[in-house]
């Protein structure tokens, strides 16, 4: 019984972690049909910026803020989401063709290693232990903070003026323009928000994931799975899928080793693609 409660908590915490990474990814995909492979690298850079600021000032909140702002600017300013260029290259049908990368990954990682120095702090990580360790409180606090940030994003999208602009542009870019919504500005804003979410995730989860140059990759892989399972571009679906998949993995870890439990998310992905390719948690098709 205790084990189930602990695993439920684990699942929820991991789910919030994942939801935060996935929400930035799905937001950018939803509005621009871009599969943003740079997301993991932005997360990693955010973690490095955050760790640096934390190291200098010792202020966690300042680290979170600075990382989010710096990476938001970086993400928004990167030239390859130029709206006009996108419109030119965008195919007429509704399928995504754009895959975006910040740069060649090794270069970005080298960039991060330069000033901080690479130390893999993941040695001895709890992942491979047969019995999951008890939940440290800071993990729960982190999950709560992630939940608050996601709720904030959701409220912003639901009720804010710019949230309506973003959702309208997501659904029909041409009509949004006809209504006078400055779509290029919306694109830039969405990239900034998505990048800031990635950076904030990096700062939040760095302490227990380990701040390494490759940390983004682990998150991105799982985030892509839940984004597909939740219905691509659908924020609520991605969040639910994050929690759902993480819970399943946690419960599976009771029976098999945690390393094998990771397979569960791939099984969910395959089943989703086979039987409900639009996603598990999409609103009723209209």
């Amino acid at each position: 019984m205790d084990q189930i409660i602990i695993q439920t908590l684990h699942g929820l915490v991991n789910g919030m972690v994942l939801a935060m990474v996935a929400s930035g990814l799905t937001l950018i995909f939803g509005i621009m049909d871009i599969v943003n492979f740079a997301h993991g690298d932005l997360l990693m850079l955010g973690a490095f910026v955050g760790a640096s600021v934390l190291g200098v000032t010792g202020n966690y909140w300042l680290a979170l803020l600075v990382a989010a702002v710096v990476i938001a600017v970086l993400g928004a300013r990167s030239p390859d989401h130029d709206a006009a260029a996108l419109d030119r290259t965008r195919p007429a049908d509704d399928h995504p063709r754009h895959v975006r990368r910040l740069a060649r990954d090794p270069e970005v990682r080298a960039l991060a290693v330069g000033p901080v120095g690479a130390t893999d702090q993941r040695a001895g990580s709890g992942r491979l232990r047969a019995v999951p360790p008890p939940i440290p409180w800071y993990r729960i606090a982190t999950a709560v903070l992630a939940g608050l940030i996601i709720t904030g994003l959701w409220l912003f999208l639901k009720y804010g003026k710019y949230g309506i602009w973003i959702r309208a542009t997501t659904q029909d870019r041409v009509m949004a323009q006809a209504m006078g919504i400055p779509v290029p500005l919306v694109y830039t804003g969405v990239f900034a928000i998505g990048s800031a979410m990635a950076a904030a995730s990096g700062v939040l989860f760095g302490p227990f994931a380990g701040v390494t140059q490759t940390m983004g990759f682990d998150f991105t892989l799982r985030a892509f799975i839940v984004v597909v399972v939740g219905g691509m571009g659908n924020l609520g679906g991605s969040i639910l899928a994050s929690i759902f998949v993480s819970l399943l993995e946690s419960y599976a870890a009771i029976v098999v080793s945690p390393a094998q439990a990771v397979i569960v998310s791939f099984i969910v992905l395959v089943l989703t693609m086979l039987f409900r390719p639009t996603g598990l948690f999409v609103p009723t098709p209209k």
């Binding site: 309506i164 959702r167 659904q171 029909d172 009509m175 949004a176 006809a178 209504m179 006078g180």
Partner: protein, 168 residues
């Protein structure tokens, strides 16, 4: 001039396929045209009240997703949404397509009402009686070229042209 700048010039578009934001509520659909610089809260209220007076059903359905509306209701919403921009001219593309006759009458009334307010309307329509009733000037087009143009009054008085070009 970027495409989104056209709305600021006072040009509003009601597309043929209506293009309601399906996952946005009716009110949110209207808000896409209201969240622009220079619209005071009082003016927003005024504009909303005006379209609710024209289309009471939209007030009833204001918190419902646009995609759940019927075809006629979506057409009303598309027109109402365009009115939110307080346009000088509305491009109205086949507003009665696929609508039941009662709805056609209502759309006709709204075209007249907009006209009385001094909004110019560029109406593209295959429904000849409606067009002759609503328009001041009529251009008959065939295969993308203007074949004939005259005032609506002339055409109403002399139906031969209509018969010749439209075979009705």
């Amino acid at each position: 001039m970027p495409p989104h700048g056209l709305a600021g010039l006072g040009i509003a578009w009601v597309p043929e396929e209506r293009r309601i934001f399906r996952l946005l509520t009716v009110l949110e659909n209207l808000r896409t045209g209201l969240d622009r610089p220079g619209v005071t809260p009082a003016r927003r209220e005024g504009l909303l009240e005006k379209v609710y007076a024209y289309f009471p059903i939209l007030r009833e359905r204001r918190n419902q997703a646009g995609g759940t509306l019927s075809g006629g209701e979506q057409q009303m919403l598309a027109i109402a949404r365009a009115m939110m921009l307080e346009p000088k001219i509305i491009l109205l593309d086949e507003p009665t397509e696929g609508l039941m006759p009662r709805m056609v009458g209502q759309i006709q009334e709204i075209v007249h009402a907009l006209h009385r307010e001094g909004v110019a309307i560029l109406l593209v329509e295959q429904n000849v009686p409606l067009t002759l009733d609503a328009a001041e000037r009529v251009y008959i087009m065939e295969k993308g070229a203007v074949r004939h143009h005259a005032s609506a009054a002339e055409l109403r008085a002399d139906q031969r042209v209509i018969h010749e070009y439209l075979g009705v």
